[in-house]
Chain length 330, copies 2
Amino acid sequence: MDVTIYEVAKRAGVSIATVSRALRGTGPVAARTREKVLKAVEELNFTPSRLGVSLAEGRHAANGIVFPDLAGPYYTEVLLGYEEVASELGRSVVILSTKGRTKVGDLVKDLAGRVDGMLIFGHTVPEPLVAELVRLGVRLVFVSREPLAGADTLRSENTASARALAGHLAGHGYERFAFLGAPLTSQDDVDQRWQGVREVLGGAIEAVDTRHYTVECGYDAALTLLRGEGRPEAIVCSDDEVALGALLAAEELGLDVPGDVAVTGWDDIMAARHARPALTTVRQPMRELGARAARALDELITGARDTPRHLVLTTELMIRSSCGGHPAAT
Amino acid sequence: MDVTIYEVAKRAGVSIATVSRALRGTGPVAARTREKVLKAVEELNFTPSRLGVSLAEGRHAANGIVFPDLAGPYYTEVLLGYEEVASELGRSVVILSTKGRTKVGDLVKDLAGRVDGMLIFGHTVPEPLVAELVRLGVRLVFVSREPLAGADTLRSENTASARALAGHLAGHGYERFAFLGAPLTSQDDVDQRWQGVREVLGGAIEAVDTRHYTVECGYDAALTLLRGEGRPEAIVCSDDEVALGALLAAEELGLDVPGDVAVTGWDDIMAARHARPALTTVRQPMRELGARAARALDELITGARDTPRHLVLTTELMIRSSCGGHPAAT
DNA sequence: TTGTATGCGTTATCAG
DNA sequence: CTGATAACGCATACAA
């Protein structure tokens, strides 16, 4: 990456303007001239400097994405959907993980200076900074967060799905429930799920903090829960990984699922279908969340749309065998 | 991101050179002058344009990473280790997934124009292009690949670990083995593992193609294998995910692990420890692979080192219960 | 159809 | 200590 447009121009015996035009087809160029240019480009192995192009075009042709971590399939899937569409649209993606990072603000601002817009997961970024970014005119799309002014938001439906799930479980005749999830910070996905099941189950369900959304944390919390007094008949988990942990805990204790205790997850990650018993869960279109975010960002950046949009994608209740009742196909 | 250094200079009543110096401490600036500049910067909320800085500095302060996919913990872990250290070194990371992508060459070249160097997994990029990148002077570090000239390579030890694993299994008295892995393309990690176990087990082990390194593929392949004639006594899997699939297949068929058939994995992903039975596997320092790659790249880029280095990280045999014999702690 | 000149936002050199 | 000014690499109005 050393040869510049000037060298190409000199070798082809034309001006840099002509080289530029010939390469990007942005203006009239005589067929013969084009050939000369192309030949020179070939011989010199010229590739326009991204920096030069971006500076002149006034755009980065890159999207950012900030996530807390990449543990588990959820963030990964969204990321892949995002990257795929971004790439399709000719945009690179620059990542930023905030896990264990101090000075997130500086990192996010730096990122903002490298991209034309970015996807931010939930409440990964402190609210004041979000406000500042909006004020600075950074194109933003939030995934898994409540709507806010000045940015797109995108999420999967939670409350109604949670109600449906709870209703299904109640239909099996269970009467003592537990909700296993990380700290229920307001406004995020998990909180909405909790609210949903609670609306249906009321006092029959109690929440248990798992600290994190991991198999390990789910396992630990479930172990304690299942060993204690008044073991619940059904455990509704905040996501599939926590649920997989619960499944392991049950097995560890020699409890049959769903015979002794029913377990449900959320997301429908690949492992959910393969778990024993197969996990009843709520399928959320993770990949699509990322893909849509990339498209939305593109609209915002190109100016195809200038008013924020708030979208909620629908989910699907996947009844499998871990919740008991009528056994279903996997 | 609209205010430029000129506006700051004007407001502070100084030249842009002084602003630049005041901000980066790259030259003498009177205390009083500095104050004025800082005040103007504050009031205008000025942040130097990344593009301008990069163009002038002649560096992107960014690293690239190209991977085939992000399915499973392996790539994700390496990526996280990479991003963490890169961030520590003040470098962003821009990603590129090649899965299902046509024109990988163009994408990789574009990426090369956006970063100061990049990490490439195994043989994700066609060899001719690798050669071209090397020729162009792009700083490269390959992870999980055999050494090549002009670039760093980094991998975990495979052959000896595989021999140790095979030896351990042989010590349990098994006599019929199967190796479950994706197509054994030459030179990559899995191939080395296969060679290793083969050296020890010889004709007693046969290879089975799983197409991909996923739980699903492992499950399918193991199901066929375990249903067939001459069921193996031990299945050595190319990685933990395939092994988890094998575990599920065994359970599906009502076979006890390790009673009826032993199963081993590779990588020691989190799920390996939580699997029932806990998976005997070879721990590979995935996170460190990424971290080291970032450091190596930094050395190459800053010029702290100019001759390629080829590193092999050591692994650790994790004997757990899925391989039979003496039961061990998890 | 082609060339000239300017802008894009910094950094850094070299005179004052 | 400070200020012009030349890079850096390209795109693009505007002229010719």
